[in-house]
């Protein structure tokens, strides 16, 4: 789950990271009022959960409250990479001497958190990593120890930070670490962390990604979820405990297990079709869940055929069959359906579906071929 810049910085500030004293505006008028209170030049920043808002014109520095209101008016109407801008952040404009990148993420291969710093902050850090890898300092943190002082020193030395800034940098690193740890983040990033013209460190922009697996124990953060991040169908799926991703093809898929779901998409493509979605009903799905999944698939008007591929292990074939039948009672549809059931209680499932006018298949290859044919036949 992505957090907005404003929420991320608010969390950082709770852990002692200095951030600008800005506020969120939802209307141009609010933006003008906030700018007036702040006084002086401000920066108006679109709050959207995609990168590249600067290049898209979603960030403007202005000198007066009136100009802030105008800028907010422009930005609040924008659509950045498909996402509507509903909020802007009004921060005081800061005189910047230099810009640092500072972030924590998980190094999966090393199975450790890694703290990353660079003196070349403010720009696209991935580009720096690609073109000047020596400018990126990586320091791993042992998960049993947590962030130690020497880790922070290694970062400070690595980016050749002036010794006068070490104490402030120490506080910021500790704060960012606590924010990362206590929020179950998979990314906590300050870019840029600026050295101001007044020679102070300030986190100008912030970003956090929260581990979806940990949302259950982060009730406060769960409330910060921005629904714009997902399509309505995806939201609906998430609430039903399904993993659903809408794609551009014409063959809807319902599969148990992420790997098998991907393999099913692959084989559809291999036999000349295009998958309309990724949908994993998970392990041990019951009839209710299956029905919800089918409804979501059929909402997609591009879908010209549905392929069920269920290999029973935890999931039982009869439960899946019951779910399909239940869903079909409430949804009138003439989309052809290909069913392939194998594994636990597959025979029982097939028996239940015998009268439901479905195309059946023994193997995955056969099922995929039949689904592609069915979609083309319409």
């Amino acid at each position: 789950m992505k957090l907005h810049e404003f929420d991320s910085k608010k969390i950082f500030a709770q852990y002692g990271v200095p951030v600008p004293k800005g506020k969120i505006a939802k209307t141009p008028k609010e933006a003008g009022e906030i700018a007036k209170k702040l006084g002086g030049a401000v920066v108006v920043k679109a709050q959207v959960l995609v990168g590249g808002r600067g290049k898209a014109g979603g960030v403007k520095v202005v000198k007066t409250a009136k100009q802030a209101q105008d800028a907010a008016k422009q930005i609040l109407g924008m659509d950045i990479k498909g996402l509507p801008v509903r909020k802007v952040l009004i921060d005081p404009a800061i005189g910047i001497a230099s810009e640092i990148y500072l972030g924590i993420t998980n190094d999966r291969a090393a199975r450790q958190p890694v703290m990353i710093a660079s003196a070349a902050g403010g720009v696209d850090i991935e580009e720096v990593a690609a073109t000047n890898p020596e400018k990126i300092i990586r320091v791993h943190v042992n998960p049993l120890l947590g962030l130690q002082d020497y880790n922070i020193r290694d970062l400070a030395v690595g980016i050749e930070l002036d010794r006068n800034h070490w104490a402030a940098f120490h506080t910021i690193c500790k704060g960012l670490w606590e924010a990362y740890k206590n929020s179950d983040a998979t990314l906590a990033e300050i870019n840029p962390l600026v050295i101001t013209k007044d020679n102070e460190l300030l986190a100008i922009d912030g970003k956090m990604l929260i581990d979806d697996n940990a949302i259950f124990r982060q009730p406060k953060l769960a409330k910060l979820r921005d629904m714009d991040e997902e399509t309505p169908a995806e939201t609906q799926a998430r609430k039903s405990g399904l993993t659903y991703i809408q794609l551009d093809g014409e063959i809807g898929c319902m599969v148990n297990g992420a790997g098998l779901a991907m393999a099913t998409m692959d084989i559809i493509k291999l036999f000349g079709g295009e998958p309309a979605n990724f949908l994993d009903i998970g392990g041990g799905a019951n009839a209710e869940k299956v029905a919800a999944a089918l409804r979501i698939i059929l909402q997609d008007k591009n879908v010209k055929a549905v392929l069920f591929n269920i290999f029973g292990g935890i999931t039982r074939g009869d439960e899946v069959a019951k779910g399909i039948l239940a869903a079909l009672k409430t949804i009138k549809t003439d989309v052809p359906m290909v069913v392939r059931l194998a594994g636990t209680n597959a025979a029982e499932g097939r028996a239940l579906l015998a009268d439901a006018n479905m195309i059946t298949a023994e193997t995955l290859a056969e099922a995929a071929q039949k689904a592609v044919q069915a979609a083309k036949g319409r």
């Binding site: 581990d211 697996n213 599969v255």
Partner: protein, 287 residues
């Protein structure tokens, strides 16, 4: 005897009194697995599964009483990290954690601790392991597989069943099948299992099932080209997945240019692995 477990492996099931715990423990017993005990704090002293399996209050008590050397974990999400640490402290040799959805930071801590204790972990978020004809520890449907000389290692649960089923159709069997799970931070990984298969006298050929995300398959390819003499057939799920989208498994994120299906297939092919287009092709490629 399998690479990790056989008919003598003594298993305690953490979370045995839950619905899933009971269901799968029953199936394991039917398969012949030595389910010697279960753990449910506060229910120590009870018996489950028609009085066949005693329940203990802690893994330590269960291990002391039964001589178990393996723990299977099928507890609710919020209790899973604690369950793994408890099992490690109780002195089992092998932990098989089926529970899915464990937060990443928890797994980093758990894995670091287990490593310091020298305890092996399979999973989490995995279907477990199957030594056909001897023992099954986890979900893998036993009737899909017969004993044989093929080692199977997989990041995906149901894809594994699919492959075992396809093998069985043509009379081929597996020495050991390990579902390592799809989480980004886990226990035994491809390389660990491949090494065991290479050293296992009962394994002649290997099937490796990967998917998009991360770089474990690329590392496995490097390992195979350097250290493996036995033939390996591979499959990578996710060629049709669009970049940048999450496909259910936490690990299945195409991160920038790395971790894509084509890269993985290329790396495996370069290492001499024959890569199937779809799972049902695998039996033919093993002949």
């Amino acid at each position: 005897m399998g690479i990790l477990a056989d008919k003598n492996t003594r298993v305690v099931v953490q979370g045995i009194t839950g619905n899933e715990g009971l269901f799968h423990s029953q199936r394991m017993l039917e398969y012949g697995t030595q389910v010697v005990g279960g753990v449910r704090p506060g229910k120590g002293g009870e018996w489950v599964l028609d009085g066949k399996v005693p329940v203990f209050d802690s893994v330590k008590v269960a291990v002391d009483a039964t001589g178990a050397d393996c723990s299977m974990i099928i507890v609710p999400l919020a209790a899973a990290a604690d369950a793994m640490l408890e099992a490690a402290d109780a002195g089992v040799r092998l932990i098989v954690c089926l529970t899915e959805g464990i937060p990443l930071q928890d797994m980093m801590r758990v894995r670091a601790y287990l490593d310091s204790k020298g305890v092996l972990l399979i999973g989490p978020n995995c279907p477990g392991l199957l030594t056909p004809g001897q023992t099954k520890i986890g979900f893998i449907p036993g009737d899909n597989a017969i004993p044989g000389n093929i080692g199977v290692v997989s990041r995906s649960g149901t894809l594994t069943y699919e492959v075992l089923y396809a093998l069985k159709q043509v009379g081929m069997g597996s020495s050991t099948t390990v579902g390592i799970g799809g989480d980004p931070v886990k226990g035994l990984n491809f390389i660990d299992i491949l090494q065991m298969f290479e050293e296992d006298p009962l394994t002649d050929k290997v099937v490796m099932i990967g998917e998009i995300g991360g770089s474990d398959e690329e590392k496995a390819a490097e390992y195979i080209s350097k250290h493996m003499t036995k033939p390996v057939v591979g499959f990578i799920a996710g060629r049709a997945a669009p970049p940048g989208k999450r496909m259910g498994h936490a690990g299945a994120i195409v991160e920038g240019s790395a971790g894509g299906a084509e890269d993985k297939i290329a790396a495996l092919t370069k290492a001499g692995v024959r890569v199937a287009d779809y799972p049902e092709q695998i039996p033919d490629m093993l002949k």
